[in-house]
Symmetry: D2
Subunit: 362 residues, 4 copies
């Protein structure tokens, strides 16, 4: 069992040229694709339709190769696009497929393992509350069991949180993107033992900022009835040449954390940046970004939260995208906002997937 | 003779709290102030009125201490504000004053020397042409002579380029910000010997991109009749504890260049960032930024030039401000766009002023 | 006693060319100026510094003629600038001065009378609550008494609502622009008998949308300790050639209301627009605008509230500014947002000041 | 032969609920659909992907009913979506189908007739030049011949202008949206006799602003090899209950022109706006908008062309959409920018389609 993954640069939200070539060339098998995660050049906000366009195009492309209908693909595969390629951040798709049989004996080095799951359908009144936290945690624990990995092997849990349409009338007070992201992140933290169960309650959500996950990366989608979860871990039972690692950025300028994440997968910046040779082994970087809610960073005032021309989420992605691209030398990075209960306020996790060095291959 | 300089964080474009305290506390003498250079939180574009507000407020503050009128201050002191504090970039003022008598003997280490000058009044038809290049070069050479420094000691030449109001009717075709910045930068390059005189012509402006200065930082201001020039160099004849250095960023992600500029003034990033102790010695960073006109950076597509919601200049400042802040750990950086004939397309100079290490003081 | 008023087009927020000429030419006396109300081309939001720049420039100009200091002018004269000249709305200043002695006998036709007042200093905890409503009403009643006018003679009450800096720590929950505007409007409605006192309470603010004033036009300014109020009425005791009228727009497209307001001051659109001759008599139009909070207008979906690139306040001003300019044929209109308790949700008052027709002059 | 048309409000760019219901209910036959013209809530600029999303969704919906492939639908039906629903402008689709046999005898009143055509494939070097003008005119004349109508019966010619991908290297200097729109409009004007052939030349394009069409409405699309043209006229040979009329707005506030266009199809505003009863008969309004390039409107300065936060095209659509919605009382209007050679600078055509009054039906 191994993860086969490729990253494709896109010329626009609906561009599937790279994916189509990989499918046509049999480098990827459409029926083995688990997830497609991408960045599109929308504004990442309420009126960002690039995500829908990308999902349509990718689903249609996969369907053309797998023999499924577009709807069947959308139900089977996690298609998760995040809008916002501010600054140097470059639009791209990361396609993850799983193939092969289980290893008969553990590998000398752990390799990337990925599992995908869904929560049950939520009631609108549960969003942003303990019920959502616990159901999210249940599914995360299930995916860990499926992969037979411990909490310390888990380096990234991507959640697209449910925001079900309320039965009638206005939505319950927490049935929104902020609380759906927050409860999803707390659910990840609960499952991984980062957060003690007794500290969790309805009241803790978006209030007790000491509670957070260092590996969650959650978004939320109005209209989604159940949360979609992709768990990334390293496992000695899996083969392939990919590994994942992570670190926690304490703030948007925490360069040391990006260095630590890179080193954890065997990559070493020189003079502040990955050399070109090592950069080729970098497959993906995921980071969560948010403008420090205090209005200050490193003791200096920032203006991201008081600007009525450009929203703070656009700035946050631009800043962290630039910082990560500066350290890696690679602009095709995945940065999303905001980051409630993902690290301390103003901070957020960064995860890195890289290919093992050729010399390390058996 | 030495440069006394302080950097003040501002709570808004008209905030002069820090400056007023320094003047009231006699840390600065209003009559010795040569230049105030700052960043304000406007959009940096045509409808950015924060610069005018800042200039008014600073001039009024200085006038209150120097006994001059506001107009007299504006004529004597270079007041240069650049709009655009995107992302982590933090609004601030850098105040430069000159005091003391000439040293009787050269110092063991060169120190920051600053001189200020103006071109003659330009005719609108001269803007963006050889006449502007040569007049700019003449003044730069004069300032070098005044400071008795060679080209290799010059690390930054800030120019606010003239864009005189045309006599009547529409402006001549080049009487705009793009050409005024371009010709000003070429003038700096000519004076410093970076550009061979025989390669310069009207036609070379905004066409021959191989010609550039590595130390220019030019802007342009409609209505300004003569260009304002501030030259920063190191000189053995000057005292104080400040030094300046620079490097050329080949593109927006050229972290190595920022490291080189820091090292040139005795500062050394660790794990990709200046340690807190060294950061305190950093007084100012100046960088020029522009979205790579090719639409690509490091082989990846960027979307800065095709976004009709947010302009490329805002992204460019946000990216380079983030990169420089990531390496220095300091958000109060001065980044301005665009960068015609300032390094190769997509690149630009970065200059650093720092205090000498305490141990280095005699 | 009469109001002398002039409207000046501005070439930028700090442009006082027109005002200066009127003062120099003795058409206006700086010591008689009661209020300067204007529109500037900022974004009208938190990072709009054009208002501060305009206030500085106008105060400085008036001070240069009145012999006062700039601070004295700012304390004596209501200087009220609103940012946001979206679309065809054209930046301008309206200067209102009062001169002459009281009439000995009532005029055959009522004329514009203006009075200016301030509330007491508010406590931050009072903002957006009954205390603010009642104090605002008290001052409005006082200004009516001063002018000896009844409620039906009052056609516009402009309030710049206080938002005092809280003593320490975070602001009380209602100490914000929304609640300060809302309570100020309710205060106007209370004073004018539009709202029954027994229906008012802390809870009614921003909840009971049936309560509103049809003549209020309120804004709010962080840092302002007491509200500034300008009351516009018609009075038989006043002379001059100006009259004011108003109507209530039920929604942003309520053209009939604009017609009614114009007719109330003797102006008649032909084929949907004021003819050029009548337009010359139009001195000022004030309108309050807001995107209908239901997300619909006339049964059609609008997208103003879900756009993360451009804020709803900018759209609202652009729409109502266009509608009012379409009916009047005059782009120098004053439109401000938002409009809590100013008419029904999505609607707002429109007031018109016009010169009497030459034939109507005695 | 008659045009059957319906307008559908959309809940998002891909929403085809209304269209699907009309097809399922047999009110429309997918195989008879000639054109779908709509407005989406994108920014209308280079990074507006809502148009592509809408075209995909509509083509897929039609294909599901017609039995064609999506590509076949896109080749047969003109699918023309314009981004930008600023302010009150409401997203919608207008679906035009043609059915029935030719009338045996002319009707007592002329009715709406529509024909659709394509130019030949253009060479990139022809765009914006006489070749494009003449080929556009040839096709327009052909469509007039097909419908057997004279120039005075033609009230709207919608053109999506070709911008072919250049064979290699950079595009020819005029191969852009500005020149493609301009030449297309001149082509319409040439065909209709609005412009004398001897005044046309390569040089006249975007230079001789006296030359314009009063019924053109052109856009341009990069990547489109041949222009798509939809001609709307009234004909005594056609049946149905629809009629079209038009007028020329001299500037964005030309309310009289909107009145004239409405009256030409039997609709009469009262007090500046169509009464509700007449509004129901209004099927569609098409207007072209542009910020007056002089920077002034009606002698007042506007700020649309110097705003670096919000582009002039967004303001222009918002203003004209508001003006047209104010007069019609209907927010589902189609306004597009810019308007080179569509009326005088700052002006543009407005066309109206309405159902005949019930009493007028035989």
């Amino acid at each position: 069992m191994r993860i086969v993954a490729e990253r494709f640069a896109t010329a626009g939200p609906s561009d599937c040229t790279g994916l189509r070539a990989a499918l046509a060339g049999c480098r990827l098998d459409a029926r083995e694709v688990l997830a497609v995660i991408g960045k599109t050049e929308g504004n990442g906000g309420r009126n960002d339709f690039t995500r829908e366009l990308a999902v349509r195009a990718v689903a249609e492309t996969l369907a053309g190769f797998s023999g499924e209908s577009r709807d069947e693909v959308e139900n089977r595969v996690v298609l998760s696009f995040s809008g916002g390629c501010e600054g140097v951040a470059s639009p791209h798709q990361l396609v993850l497929a799983r193939n092969g049989a289980p290893r008969r004996e553990p590998a000398p080095e752990k390799r990337l393992a990925v599992a995908v799951g869904h929560t049950r359908v939520f009631d609108a009144a549960e969003i942003g509350r303990l019920a959502m936290i616990e159901e999210t945690a249940r599914v995360v624990r299930g995916l860990m069991a499926e992969l037979e990995v411990d909490a310390e092997d888990v380096h990234l849990v991507q959640v697209k949180g449910a925001i079900p349409d309320p039965p009638a009338g206005p939505a319950p007070p927490r049935c929104d993107m902020v609380h759906a992201r927050a409860a999803s992140a707390l659910g990840v933290g609960l499952a991984l033992g980062e957060i003690a169960p007794e500290r969790l309650s309805d009241e803790a959500v978006c209030r007790d900022w000491d509670l957070y996950s260092q590996v969650a990366s959650t978004s939320a989608k109005p209209g989604l009835a159940r949360s979609e979860i992709v768990l990334f871990a390293n496992s000695a039972d899996w083969g392939g040449d990919l590994r994942i690692g992570h670190a926690l950025m304490q703030d948007m300028l925490d360069v040391a954390a990006v260095h630590a994440a890179l080193r954890s997968v065997g990559l070493s910046p020189v003079d502040g940046q990955l050399p070109a040779g090592e950069r080729e082994r970098l497959l993906a970087v995921f980071a969560k970004a948010e403008a420090n809610p205090s209005g200050h960073i490193r003791g200096r005032r920032h203006t991201m939260l008081g600007d009525d021309d450009i929203g703070d989420t656009r700035y946050a992605r631009c800043v962290v995208g630039s910082v990560v691209a500066a350290v890696t030398g690679e602009p095709a990075v995945y940065v999303s906002t905001r980051a409630e209960h993902h690290g301390p306020p103003g901070g957020g996790p960064v995860a890195v997937i890289a290919r093992a060095a050729p010399t390390a291959r058996p």
